[in-house]
């Protein structure tokens, strides 16, 4: 299934609805939902927040993959930004040194099983896989 979304946080509920549909129709394990929801939101929000020069919709594609799901987000007419190369977060730092910045991509990289970034013809495409643990 694929669907385009406007560059707005208000689309998050529509993305959740799409994810629910894919999980139901493809019979994907419900215990994977949390990680899929988190990774999809964080990557979508990152595109909306930082690729401000683009006014084009963001395409999300979700397909079954072995024992889980493959999700791709494509952003059009943007500069290169590789979320897989995002700097790490010191989660052991004391409260006084903690800031929320960078935590979203950090969690994505920690929680998905694989992630791949591609940049071509001013299109940023990021694909991640979440699989059931055997």
């Amino acid at each position: 299934m694929k669907q385009k979304f406007k560059r707005s946080f208000d689309e998050l509920q529509n993305i959740v609805t799409m994810t629910e549909t894919v999980f139901r129709e493809e019979g994907i394990q419900p215990e994977l939902r949390h990680v899929v929801d988190l990774a999809t939101e964080e990557l979508f929000v990152n595109m909306v927040t930082y690729n401000t020069e683009s006014h084009e919709d963001i395409l999300i594609r979700m397909d079954p993959h072995e024992h889980g799901i493959e999700v791709n987000l494509t952003d059009y007419n943007v500069e290169r930004f590789d979320p897989t190369a995002a700097s790490t977060v010191d989660v052991d730092a004391p409260l006084s040194e903690r800031t929320p910045g960078g935590l979203g991509l950090y969690l994505v990289l920690k929680m998905v099983d694989s992630i791949h970034y591609e940049y071509r013809n001013r299109q940023s495409s990021i694909t991640f896989i979440v699989d059931r643990k055997e």
Partner: protein, 98 residues
Amino acid sequence: MFEIEFGDDDTVMVECRLDAAQAVKAQTFLDQVAGACVLDLGKLEYVSSAGLGVLLKTHKRLMGSGRGLKLINVNHHIHDIFRYSGFDKLFVIVPANE
């Protein structure tokens, strides 16, 4: 539909999904809180980094006066997120099964 409101004994009840679209609503509510605060997350289904940012900002503000947030009834999905984020070292967290 995300909801945040005072429950019994001034415990703050948080429900549904705390995502980037709801972070401003949550922050606006929590900015009114002073002193020690208990957040009951028993009906919170989902939290993203935007929600974590709200909790962190509020906790830091309250800790400035020696108080802070206590997070109770935390389900295992959200507890995982807290653990990956290092929040288990910053907050008092009570899982849902205790």
